[in-house]
């Protein structure tokens, strides 16, 4: 029994070693696995932010009074808006079409007079709604500015305000996008690298015919699969470490919970993704198709359906159901819980269990399909 086990280990080791040699021979693979995630992380960390400022604002001041100028100053003083042009309100459409302004502030004639008379003065804000995110921000920011300006102009508050809301933010009080994105990004980058690397290498082995060579040797199916998986698993774990280290060093992403838990989540997820890559390559046997299928099945779901960028609860019911079979969903949820909220096993065991289930099922499928291919 011991002899069989050690022979098994020897053969898996030989397969892994051969695979590791391949990786070393082609530094591009390592580049893809290790440099690209860091570059992407920096790009995403710095580049992806939904917080917009210095929005281009055009002004149509029909009043040209001290009051109207004060209002415009209130818009620009905060740094939220930059005044880009003085226009006729009728030309707003033209500005929007050229993407020169995100909004036009229209102050009608008589603004100062109405304010002086104590009558309410309405100002109009024309908003380019084609980009919903930006438009939302424009509306929220303009609303706050006008409200504050109104308080400044209005009667002094009689005494204490009648209602007050205290807002308290947990986990990420500064509201930094990077803190939110890094755990999600880890899932995204691991998924891409793991699925594509295995899909490409195994499909390449089919194309070159070296796979048949392997089958002629006494190496068993499971041994081939494990031998293929192990080196990439190692690369994947290094990748995870890199992403976490860069996240902590550059973006100050905390790891509030257990580091072991983070690794356990990452390990189970990686096995699942590598299995998915293997499965694809066993089915397609062609590099061109394997890459397209790999990209489609790893990139899109892990970006769109994992909750990495877009909350799952906002999706229609069928997509929410679909997201339940996307392992990235559990990794993103688990990582956010462990890293940002400091959650432990008590809260995160369903995520671990789901990842483990996916990994077992996909590796079993790949092995079964492998056998059938040869029969």
């Amino acid at each position: 029994m011991n002899g069989r086990l050690s022979r098994f280990a020897t053969r898996v080791g030989a397969m892994s070693f051969k695979e590791a040699l391949h990786v070393r021979r082609d530094p591009r693979t390592l580049y893809m696995a290790l440099v690209m995630p860091v570059v992407m992380l920096l790009l995403f960390g710095y580049g992806v932010s939904f917080d917009v400022d210095h929005l281009p604002l055009a002004v149509a001041d029909g009043d040209r009074s001290e009051s109207s100028r004060a209002l415009v100053r209130a818009f620009t003083a905060s740094g939220e808006f930059d005044r880009v042009a003085e226009v006729d309100p009728a030309r707003a459409d033209d500005l929007f079409r050229r993407s020169r302004a995100a909004a036009v502030l229209v102050i009608p004639w008589g603004h100062a007079r109405r304010l002086a008379a104590g009558r309410p003065a309405a100002v109009e804000l024309l908003v380019d709604g084609s980009d919903g995110t930006t438009a939302n921000q424009v509306l929220a920011k303009a609303d706050a500015i006008v409200r504050a300006e109104g308080r400044r102009l209005g009667p002094a508050p009689a005494s204490a305000p009648p209602l007050e809301v205290q807002v308290l933010t947990r986990y990420n009080p500064a509201g930094r996008s990077a803190v939110y994105l890094v755990p999600g990004l880890a899932a995204y980058l691991l998924a891409i690298a793991a699925v594509l690397l295995t899909a490409l290498t195994v499909a390449g082995e089919w194309e070159r015919g070296s796979m048949e060579q392997l089958f002629a040797s006494p190496v068993g199916r499971l041994e081939i699969i494990l031998g293929k998986l192990l080196p990439y698993l190692a690369i994947g774990l290094v990748q995870l470490l890199l992403v976490l280290a860069v996240g902590a060093a550059v973006f100050e992403v905390p790891i509030a919970g257990s580091l072991w838990l983070v690794f356990a989540l990452g390990l189970l997820f990686l096995v699942g993704m590598l299995g998915q890559g293997l499965f694809i390559s066993v089915v397609t046997r062609n590099q061109l198709v394997a890459t397209q299928a790999g990209a489609l099945s790893s990139l899109l779901p892990s970006m769109l359906l994992s909750g990495m960028l877009f909350p799952i609860e906002n999706m229609p019911a069928p997509l929410q159901a679909l997201s339940r079979v996307i392992p990235a969903r559990y990794l993103v949820h688990g990582l956010r819980g462990a890293m940002l909220k400091g959650n432990g096993l008590a809260v995160l065991w369903p995520d671990l269990a789901s990842l483990a289930l996916f990994a077992v099922v996909i590796v079993a499928l790949a092995t079964a399909r492998f056998r059938r291919r040869l029969a």
């Binding site: 939904f50 917009v52 309410p120 804000l125 380019d128 919903g132 109104g150 809301v165 205290q166």
Partner: protein, 376 residues
């Protein structure tokens, strides 16, 4: 001279025909070129929603008076927040937040209604899950706005004056601020670059691997004829993908088609020239399909990110904003958005068209030059 030029067209047509047949014969490539765009359009259309609404909220009503119930009901009625659970204690609500079940906890202490009726300051606590800053901002703003407005109303009714300043917003093009009309033109830019860049990069690498490239290079087919011929089928397929996405977008997501379709067509052609040129450029630097794929990937991922497709360019740091000027996706995303949503035409979009043309010519020229040098 005319005879020579005629032969040039014959050679180009032969390359294009061969490429077209090879592409169509491979069912799997056709699948990728047709089904992948459909899946992406539908996924992006349904999954991506920048509009934050129905944020799950936990309610801890320690007051249980008609006043507390009225304000909680009215706050939760506007759609931004959704009552997901009610708890007896704040601690229980925070535990639910740890599990990710709720993103906001509204805590009303005993005495809220009494304070309100007595004219004292009635306090509400809103605890937010800050992991998703965007959602936290919107949810927090919804709570602040609601109570701010009520406070202003109450103050005004007590003092007998109206608020002096009022903002009347008017939203152009997309008044309900739906995400799909914004997202789908971006998806179009993304999809075309993925399909055309990677497929052409790998296609040329495949010919190099199998030796057919060498076979073609000993014929009089000029590098330019070969590259142009190889591109033609993907130009056609790219245009087909545009029609496909527009059709799906219109049918499923009420994507408006307001502007000049010829301008969109011209922009698409110039954009495809660029993306195909990049694919060819990558393939001249790659020996194998695997390298070509990785090269394509390394271009596509940052290019998509910097195009302003997923997040607005204006939210990026200045340095990155400068880099986006070098991203052809940016111009195509701008152009398609302006044509589809804003009804723009050549009069407004000539700068984008010029930029795309400049990119297309420069990149295609660089690919051809590299290709020619490779033969020396």
């Amino acid at each position: 001279m005319t005879a020579a030029r005629g032969a040039g067209w014959v050679r180009l047509a032969a390359v294009a025909r061969k490429e077209w047949l090879q592409t169509l014969r491979d069912r799997r490539i056709v699948f990728m070129l047709v089904v992948a765009p459909l899946v992406q359009t539908v996924l992006f259309g349904y999954a991506v929603d920048f509009q934050v609404d129905q944020v799950p909220a936990a309610v801890v009503d320690g007051d249980r008076t008609p006043e507390s119930r009225l304000h909680l009901r009215r706050l939760l009625a506007d759609g931004t927040l959704r009552r997901a659970a009610a708890f007896e204690s704040g601690a229980a609500a925070l535990a639910a937040m740890d599990r990710g079940e709720v993103a906001l906890a509204l805590v009303l202490r005993p005495g809220f209604g009494e304070d309100l009726l007595a004219g004292r300051t009635a306090r509400v606590q809103a605890v937010l899950d800050g992991t998703d800053p965007n959602r936290a901002t919107v949810a927090g703003a919804a709570a602040s706005r609601y109570f701010g407005e009520r406070a202003a109303e109450l103050a005004a009714s007590r003092a007998g004056v109206e608020p002096p300043l009022r903002l009347v917003p008017r939203i152009f093009y997309n008044p309900s601020l739906r995400t799909p009309p914004y997202m789908i033109p971006g998806v179009l830019a993304m999809l075309l670059v993925v399909v055309t860049t990677i497929v052409t990069a790998m296609g040329l690498a495949r010919e190099r691997e199998s030796g057919t490239l060498e076979q073609v290079l000993v014929t009089p087919v000029a590098p330019m004829e070969l590259l142009a011929g190889k591109m033609t089928p993907f130009l056609v397929l790219g245009l087909f993908d545009v029609l496909l996405v527009l059709t799906v977008g219109t049918l499923l997501f009420d994507l408006p088609l307001r502007g000049s379709l010829p301008v969109l067509g011209a922009g698409t052609l110039l954009y495809l020239l660029t993306t195909l040129g990049i694919g060819l450029l990558i393939s001249t630097a790659s020996r194998t399909q695997q390298q070509a794929f990785l090269g394509g990937f390394l271009f596509v991922l940052p290019a998509v990110l910097l195009a302003g497709v997923v997040t607005p360019i204006s939210s990026m740091p200045r340095a990155l904003q400068l880099v986006t000027w070098l991203d052809p996706l940016r111009y195509y995303a701008e152009l398609s958005r302006a044509v589809l949503q804003k009804g723009a035409g050549a009069a407004e979009l000539w700068p984008q068209l010029l930029e795309l043309a400049a990119f297309g010519i420069a990149i295609f020229g660089a690919a051809a030059a590299r290709f020619r040098r490779e033969l020396g």
